[in-house]
Amino acid sequence: MKLSLWRRYSFPASHRLFRAEWSGEENERIFGKCANPYSHGHNYALEVAVTGPVDPATGMIANLADLDSFVQQKVLDAFDHAYMNEQIPEFRECVPTTENVCRVIFQRLAGFPHAHIEGVRIEETGKNSFEYAAPSNP
């Protein structure tokens, strides 16, 4: 059997989906309401999965205090109440769709020293969610 521990976090943030090299009309055609120049926001729910052996001394894959402080430092300190287009450097080069937010957050978490980060899942709203898995199993 294989065990994965999932921990759920949340952060409100704003974004705007547009490409500077496209016309206003083209941005609106592709991104619709999400291209609104004033931006808009969501309450994002972030789920992080870690996997690895269960330490028999603690019964844990990873200590939640370690995971929480790592996620806080690598992700929440930057993303919480941020305008992602301007305040998250990775989005200077790519559109902050939730697909890309998943990938960026996964990359920020991949160096967790206590267990293998298996994937992340983000709910942008109650109706849509996105999942990014590590390319291969440990």
Partner: protein
């Protein structure tokens, strides 16, 4: 292949304490969970069985039978119980969500005869849950 999931809730108490650790180490590693008086959770268990529907019944498995298995093996044994003292499979282990999910897998897997157990998802709270899935790699512990 079709996956069928049945969900149930149970409430139980636990605390974390490793007798090989000093009192200070227990507090440092386990934090509030080390409180010897215990504390409780409303656990939510999702049990997923995978298989092909039987053409005669249209069912992967008889959900009534699964409900009876879950009632007998989980609800009757764990609901309103203290996991440290009342679940023998957890004896000598720290009753974390990880260990409890492993125990539930080992209890339920041999009892599913139509289809096969595909995943156990155990929520300790809405913000913390563990997935246990079949894996070709040998389980070392």
């Amino acid at each position: 292949m079709i996956r069928v999931t049945r969900k149930l809730e149970f409430s139980a108490a636990h605390f974390y304490h490793n007798p090989d650790f000093s009192a200070e180490e227990n507090r440092r590693v386990f934090g509030k969970c080390n409180n010897p008086h215990g504390h409780g959770h409303n656990y939510v268990l999702e049990v997923t069985v995978a298989g092909e529907p039987d053409p005669k019944t249209g069912m992967v498995l008889d959900l009534k039978e699964l409900k009876e298995i879950l009632d007998r093996e989980v609800t009757q044994r764990m609901d309103h119980r203290h996991l440290n003292y009342e679940v023998p499979e957890l004896a000598g282990k720290i009753p974390t969500c990880e260990e409890l999910a492993k125990v539930l897998w080992r209890i339920l897997e041999p009892k599913i005869h139509q289809g096969r157990l595909d995943r156990i998802r155990l929520y300790e709270s809405p913000d913390l849950f563990v997935d246990c899935t079949a894996d070709s790699a040998k389980d070392a512990r």
